[in-house]
Symmetry: C2
Subunit: 332 residues, 2 copies
């Protein structure tokens, strides 16, 4: 039943499975959870010996099959023969099975992905294509390369462009240099993760309160966010972060606004160098969750004229489009 595909994006802290009609590129049904690779691995790793009798791969297959079953229960046809394509951290050393990184340059037509086949078993009667990530000499990614394959398949201008920089915001933001259909270099920024641990684990946790995924900011939140971006540009980050405490101690900002000041400091730091040497060929490829913030930041940093904005809905579906392309090369 090659007209369907189970597209799975299994990240560090999230699990997304979509049953897709590959002819019409339509999502038939989906399952989501926060049971990312970190949770599955940690539960397995800390289980007592008795429960550890199942292998780590087995634990992942159980989790996957439960989600496939949940989707199967909601559709009227049998999906037992539908292949599964998985990208993200599931191919890492703490994932389902470790698959080596593909070195650069990496073609974005889906032909260059390193894919490990896991054959159907009683436990999980689906053929699984486990897609690996990409490495440069001093960096790695797992998942974003597949999103970029999907993006390039939807946007031919991205696929054919010369020397563009795609920004994929996230827990570990990726700045990916693409030239004529290939990834030629990339850099990781720990923006999202730093934000999370600073906002929840540091002394600053008492100075901020909020939800980073808001799609619309109030006037005062916008002002605070811009103030954070501004202060990030010429200031040492280790010092600028203490401003978050001062804003609170001196009652300069509410906790709700201060949350966006902190976000502005970190996103501003990530984009700092780009704003100084922007060359008009930046593409913002943000999923819905932080799209508003990155767009605001790029506007405030006067980079908007040289930046192409990819619609967040397109990025939300980029992984599954990448899976369709990759599967095409595996089957033909």
């Amino acid at each position: 039943m090659q007209d369907y595909l189970l597209s799975c994006d299994w990240g560090t802290s999230s699990f997304r499975l979509k049953l897709v009609d590959t002819l019409h590129h339509e999502i038939i049904n989906e399952a989501r959870s926060d049971r990312g690779v970190a949770i599955i691995f940690n539960r397995w790793n800390t289980a007592d010996k008795e429960n550890k009798l199942i292998s780590l791969e087995h634990a992942y297959l159980n989790e996957l099959q439960q989600n496939i079953q949940a989707i199967s229960d909601k559709v009227l046809f049998d999906i037992q023969d539908v292949p599964v394509v998985i990208s993200g951290m599931a191919s890492s050393v703490i994932g389902m099975r470790e698959v080596s990184y593909t070195p650069l340059p990496f073609p974005l037509d889906g032909s260059g992905s390193t894919v490990e086949c896991i054959y159907p078993t009683l436990q999980c009667p689906h053929k699984i294509y486990l897609v690996s990530g990409v490495c440069s000499k001093m960096d790695v990614m797992r998942g974003e390369e597949t999103q970029l394959i999907g993006l390039a398949s939807m946007r031919k201008d991205i696929y054919t462009a010369k020397k563009i920089l795609c920004i994929l915001p996230g827990t570990h933001s990726k700045h990916v240099y693409i030239n004529q259909g290939s990834i030629i270099d990339f850099h990781t920024y720990m923006t999202g993760e730093l934000f999370n641990i600073i906002a929840h684990q540091s002394i600053l946790k008492d100075a901020v309160f909020g939800d980073r995924a808001l799609t619309e900011l109030s006037m005062s939140q916008t002002d605070a966010f811009r103030c954070g971006i501004h202060n990030s540009q010429d200031s040492n980050l280790l010092h600028a972060l203490f401003n978050v405490r001062i804003n609170h101690l001196f009652k300069l900002l509410t906790k709700e606004d201060n949350f966006y000041y902190l976000s502005g400091l970190l996103i501003g730091s990530e984009l700092n160098e780009l704003s100084k040497r922007a060359n008009g060929r930046i593409v913002l490829c943000s999923e819905s969750n932080v799209n508003t913030l990155y767009k605001q930041a790029i506007q405030y940093l006067d980079m908007i004229d040289g930046t192409f904005l990819i619609d967040a809905n397109i990025m939300d579906n980029a992984a599954l489009e990448g899976h369709i392309k990759i599967l095409h090369y595996q089957i033909d």
Copy 2:
């Protein structure tokens, strides 16, 4: 009994109480614990209503009196009339009693400290002098100003110097500008706290292992530390931090060495601007715990010729010397 003093340095995460002979500047006995202000406040704050019948101040006085008693049990004379001087976070909003910051400029002879007296009670039969901190327009400190009073009393060259920058490393490092016996400005850097949360709470926790307080580094630890400093100088910190993961994934460094690479990245970032505009008047005022690392960093950044190094033993006693000076002004 004014020839003795109970000198208390009560920080966010540590408690140090010393019985001092103020004539000979000798420590007779001392008590230390990790029961800093954060622990005392959080335990009180989360206690059920019944236990909360005692006030926060009462909870602090109980803790203090237990430590005084422990010292009293170890000396042969009665210390009931010995006054207590407390500096650090104990005067903050989550401390024993909030005392307003003293604004800049702040004289280092002990005459300018804002001090709140807490009179003897049955619960704690000692007169307590609670020393407040200092604020600039956009920064605050509690404790370091008292250490600097102590340092200035031991080192007249520091007290009389024109325009020097004292670096006090720590959880929140302070860079303090001093001119002719007064603090005229200062900046906080969250170096130590960022190190702790990154090394213990982030994805990088699996890539590092070690003890930051080592007094002697191995050859490979030194190399890794220097490599971290080097990479911090021209690199975006949010990106450079991901190198810690790469060092581990690509087996470039052991976890033990990688720990010092991370430390080098952060200390290097803190000192980054100074190395670029060093003007020969820097004074490193580090306590023993991180003295080795900051000295190494200053050497590696070619700032050693323009830097005065204060002996770590002097800094370990700076708070108590500050307390002697401050008490002098309170009693005379």
